[in-house]
Every structure is written in C-alpha cells, then in structure tokens.
C-alpha cells in the first residue's frame, strides 16, 4: 500500500514513483525521528530548520541519518550545524551526526569569544569537535570513530564587533547565502558558498565522500566562507539530499527560494521539504537563518502571515 499524504503545493519534478511505502526501523539501536523541525527567534535572528527521512530509507525500513543542532552564547553569538551520517555505516553513523552537530555548535561558541581570527578559530573548533565525537561515541555508545562517520556544515554568527558570519563544511554538506543589495531593501539570489559541483560530471560521483568527521590525526578538508553579518539577508545550511536538488533542479531552487523568502514556522519549513524530484530519495535537512530580519512576520503553514506578538 502506497503512502497517502495530505496534498500540498510542493512541486513534483520528473517521473516520480507513487509506489513508495513507509516502514519504520524498529530494529535499530539508534533510530532517529523520521521528522523533526524547529523554528523561532534566537536573539535578533530567526532560525527555521527541518529534517526529513529520505524516501529510500523509509521504503526499506531504515532509520534516517541526518540531524541538526543550534547553540547560543550569553553574548548573543549563534552557531547552527547540520550533519549527515555516511551510508557506509547505516546502523551507527547517525550517532556521529548527532554528536558532531552538537559539538560543532558548542565548540564554535566556546571558541568565538577568545579568538580574533575567525578562520583560525573555526578550524580549531572543528578539531576539538572531532575529538569530542571520538570520545563521546566511545564513552557513551561504545562505538569507535570508524563507525560514526558523518559530513557536516555549520554557521557561526558573531554579534560582537566586527560582526561576522562564518560558514564551514566538511564533506558534501553545503552552505548557501542570500546577500543584501547595499542601499536598498532588496536582495540577491540564492548562491552557493562552496563549489556545488560534487556528484556531477565535473567533480565525480556523489557517493564518494573524501572528507568527514571525526578524523584522526590531520585536519579534514575544512572549507570556510565568511562575510560581514550586515551584508547577509539569510543563509542556509543543507545536507547533500537538499543541496543536490538545489544545484540540479531549477524548479526545486525556485520553490525553496520562494518558501524561504521570509522567516517561517517549523511546519512551513517541513512542508518546504516535501517536494518530489525523480531520484531525490535521500534524507533532507535544511537550516535557514534570517539575519536580523526587518519584518517580524513569520510565514506559517497555511500561507497566511502571523504577526509577531
């Protein structure tokens, strides 16, 4: 029996099957929720984030492996991370993703107040987070580092002067940004912070990941992007299940740009990820952070606007 769900306005692109079934992974020692979402103000910024298990995982009765986390310091700095367990370890890599997302956020915030050079600070924080994942996985889950690999993307918004945002990634998670147009209320298009050519003819196959957390010894291939906080309208962190859709489908890109045009509720964000695209069957996680938005209105599920109280 196929899944029957409420109708929505999300696009269906290509030849999408109607035969997917929904099976829960009741045998996993470490199952993740099939659906998870959060949205709300964190200081002056609005964060909306959702994670949805992939159709392939659900059809085969396997737990998803995506997750996210966020953390704020007393000084108002904000860190958000998304992480994706590698499919090579379907039973345990989601633990690595959970730990990595949490520890990246915590270490970035702890490091932020002490370092002047944000790139150095981010690099150090990632190294500490990687060590944390090894230690925590071993101590609390009796898993060695090789069984908890994951990719991750994070952002770190530093409010103290000079206020800056740093976006980083390890592996094939991604960061995107919409920049303000100086001197106007307008903004530019969604654009990638990093090379989005992974999994394409130019870069090679998608299922060959060259960098992940945790890593023993030397640093991973950590990519960083930064900009003054005042120049950013919003930024988005995605696992590869969403970033490949953003890069490979103009229709999905238009849909998500439309859905993310203003701060939105958790259910709105979940609905945003309900699009269908032929072959797009992996877990989907997206975290969108609107930087000090000028409007306090938040889009909700029924497309009406709810004034901020």
């Amino acid at each position: 029996m196929s899944i029957v769900d409420r109708p929505n306005h999300a696009p269906a692109i290509g030849n999408v099957s109607s035969s997917f079934e929904s099976r829960l992974d009741a045998g996993s020692a470490f199952p993740l929720a099939s659906v998870r979402a959060d949205a709300g103000w964190i200081g002056p910024d609005f964060v909306s984030v959702a994670s949805v298990v992939g159709s392939a995982h659900l059809h085969r009765g396997r737990t998803g492996q995506d997750t996210y986390d966020f953390y704020q310091s007393g000084a108002g700095d904000l860190a958000v991370a998304v992480a994706d367990g590698l499919g090579s370890h379907p039973a345990t890599s989601q633990i690595g993703a959970l730990l990595a997302a949490r520890q990246l956020c915590r270490r970035l915030i702890e490091t932020a107040s002490h370092e002047a050079d944000l790139a150095d600070a981010a690099t150090g924080a990632v190294a500490q987070a990687s060590a944390d994942v090894c230690n925590l996985a071993s101590t609390y889950y009796e898993l060695d580092a090789a069984r908890v690999p994951c990719t991750a993307a994070f952002c770190w918004l530093r409010q103290s002067k000079p206020s800056q945002v740093v976006i980083g990634r390890i592996g094939d998670a991604d960061g995107f940004v919409v920049m303000k147009c100086p001197g106007t209320d307008d903004h530019g298009p969604l654009q990638p912070c990093f090379d989005v050519g992974m999994g394409t003819a130019r870069k090679g196959p998608a299922n060959v990941v060259k960098s992940w957390l945790p890593y023993p010894g030397a640093s991973p291939n950590l990519e960083l992007w930064s900009a003054p906080l005042s120049t950013v309208h919003y930024l988005a962190l995605t696992t590869d299940g969403v970033s490949s859709d953003l890069s490979g489908s103009p229709g999905i890109r238009r849909w998500l740009e439309h859905r993310w045009r203003r701060p939105c509720s958790a259910s709105w964000m979940l609905q945003s990820l309900r699009y269908r695209r032929q072959g797009s069957l992996d877990d989907r996680t997206a975290a969108v952070i609107w930087v000090n938005p000028s409007s306090r209105d938040v889009a909700v599920d029924d497309d009406s606007m709810l004034p901020h109280p």
Partner: protein
C-alpha cells in the same frame, strides 16, 4: 563557483551489463534474452531503482558493441542478443571506457551521478591479440572520476584468475551442472543485485551491500588487488 543546472537533471545510478556473446554460449544466450525483460519489469516496479537506475548493455565477442546505451528502462524495448565468434576482453573494456564519460556527460551539466556499477559476465577466456590488462587498468584507474565498480560472474570455461583481476569488489563462478543453469542463476542474481545496489544510496566503502549470491549456486573468487 556556481554549478547550478540551467535545466532539470536527475540523480542517476548508472548500471552496466557487459556480457560475453561468443559462439561458445550457443543456445544459452536465450537465458539472457529471457531475463532482460524481467530486469526491466523489476526496475519499473521498484520505486527506488525505477527512479534512479539507468541501464546500459554492451556485448562482446570478437568485437564489442553497445546494444543499449544508458537508458531509463521504462522508455525502451530490451534488446535481443545473438552470439558472435570469439572472446575479446580488450574490446569490451575499451568500449566501456569510451562509453562511460559519454553517458555521464549526456545526463547534463549539474546532474548527480553515483559511481557506476558494471556486471561483467563471461563463459570463456580472452583470445584476442591484445592483452586486456592495460585496457582494464585504464578503466579502473583510481584517479579517473568515471571508474566503475565491477562485479564479475563466470560460468562454463571462464578463467577464475582473470575474473579475480577484473572484479573490483566481488567475483563469482557459477557451479550448477549445465551452462544454461549457470547462466540462469547469474541473470537472476544480477536482477536482485541491481535492485540492491541502486537502493543502497551507499557512500564510502560498503562492499557488503553490493551483491548477495546464493552460495548453493556460486563459488566466490577472492578479488585480486591490481
């Protein structure tokens, strides 16, 4: 830096069947012809494989040819194979090495593809003039972005040592009494393997998810590091 596609592209899992059609197959080739429509039915009915798998079929005897370019099987009729003459692995690998990049690039700029998987099937030994090792080395060069994973199946008078060198992950010799039965089991395993491979969405090293065989009908061959 941007690599956004200008038109719709779709994540694709390329699967190739590279099969011996030399004269020695004889009437056994009808086993392949009988199973190809079954492969199509499976892919059309499986939602994951149906959305992601694209299948290409190449045959080799004295020369090699593409009988089905990488295709969505929903949209094509399966070819009917016929036997040729001798057995030329070199021609097979050379054709595959030229076909792969053409197929991948035809998916479109920005299209996501997973590492191609090929199922190599042979009942005999290479007897072409050029040795096949150099061509295989180019095909499986670790630095070549299109390099495929190869699962090798042998039956009849196939050379296990050659299969061990050709395969990158798994190699098997069929063990049933007749070549017809052996080939039937190979094709049945191929169908289930295509389904397993395309649904794995695996990343990194995950050899266990590649192929599952019934060990009553197959003898695993240890794969050699080249």
């Amino acid at each position: 830096m941007a690599e956004f596609a200008d038109y719709e592209t779709f994540p694709t899992f390329p699967v190739y069947i590279l099969t011996d059609v030399s004269a020695s197959l004889g009437a056994a080739i009808e086993e392949i012809n009988a199973v190809l429509p079954e492969l199509k039915r499976m892919l059309v009915s499986d939602p994951i494989a149906g959305e992601m798998a694209r299948v290409g079929i190449m045959t080799f005897s004295a020369s090699a040819r593409v009988v089905l370019p990488l295709s969505d099987l929903q949209d094509v009729e399966m070819p009917i194979l016929s036997t040729g003459s001798s057995t030329n692995f070199t021609a097979a690998f050379r054709l595959w090495r030229t076909q792969l990049p053409a197929d991948i690039e035809a998916l479109g700029r920005g299209a996501t593809f997973y590492r191609p998987v090929g199922f190599f099937i042979s009942d005999g030994r290479h007897n072409g003039r050029e040795h096949w090792a150099d061509e295989l080395e180019l095909l499986t060069d670790p630095t070549w972005r299109y390099r495929p994973e190869i699962v090798a199946f042998g039956f009849g008078a196939a050379d296990p040592d050659a299969l061990a060198r050709i395969a990158t992950r798994h190699a098997f010799m069929a063990t049933d009494d007749s070549t017809v039965e052996q080939l039937r089991e190979i094709m049945s395993t191929l169908i289930s393997s295509v389904q397993t491979v395309t649904s794995s969405l695996g990343r990194g090293e995950d050899p266990q998810s590649m192929v599952e065989v019934d060990h009553r009908h197959f003898r695993p061959i240890p794969v050699q590091e080249v």
